[in-house]
Symmetry: C2
Subunit: 119 residues, 2 copies
Amino acid sequence: MKEHENEFCEINAPHEESVKKAKAALLDTETLYDVAELFKIFGDSTRTSILATLSAGEMCVCDIAEVLNLSVSAVSHQLRILRHNKLVKARRCGKEVFYSLSDDHVVKILETATEHVKE
Amino acid sequence: MKEHENEFCEINAPHEESVKKAKAALLDTETLYDVAELFKIFGDSTRTSILATLSAGEMCVCDIAEVLNLSVSAVSHQLRILRHNKLVKARRCGKEVFYSLSDDHVVKILETATEHVKE
DNA sequence: CTCTTGCTTGAACAACTGTTCAACTGTAAT
DNA sequence: ATTACAGTTGAACAGTTGTTCAAGCAAGAG
């Protein structure tokens, strides 16, 4: 990110205009970073599986692990990430902790992507 | 993924039903994997930046690098990934290679996520 | 209190990812 | 043919990520 100062396309002017336009239209770095960060959360099949499972309704950690054939620890670790990113919310009830989707957006995003994948 | 065979919630029946229901409603593993795979592509700020840049129109590698202040090599590597996942398409014109979004879906997905991030 | 169960957490480790660097290909101009 | 430029590619490296394991915490039962 430092030694390409002189690497302009030296061919023609149209490029300069194009570059200028693109730079102006570009979202701010922070927003792009946040968007990528959001996608990163969805970019793991364990997490998407957990989210898909929770779209059927509230469920405790142990049952999620059972449904997905994962260790309780692995599920808990991923739920922590989902929790911190406000994609799921937790509700303690005695010894159990029930998790559910914190937002309808989540379902929508998943559905859209699923459609896209299925073509 | 092997020593949690006996880790059922041993409290009550409702859980069993819940588990059964969730298992039935769950998308097949392959679809979930593909969805996660798609999100993984979007889950890197360099790639989302490239896609956002290309949403302004066709552009050559050198110019993308210029807009985003990245090395040509780094951009090329990421474009390769985007190309293989059919998110962008390439068009050679003399010495230059122009890239563009291969699908309006891409823009839509990015826009939706951006809205979500901006709350 | 102690014991058990449901869940969480930190450390360790392996697997993966993105960038850089250097070498290379393809195209056009001299 | 030689040179220059636009872009690609493979290897190497550092940084990140997800799982497992073991230890711990919280809450109800005895």
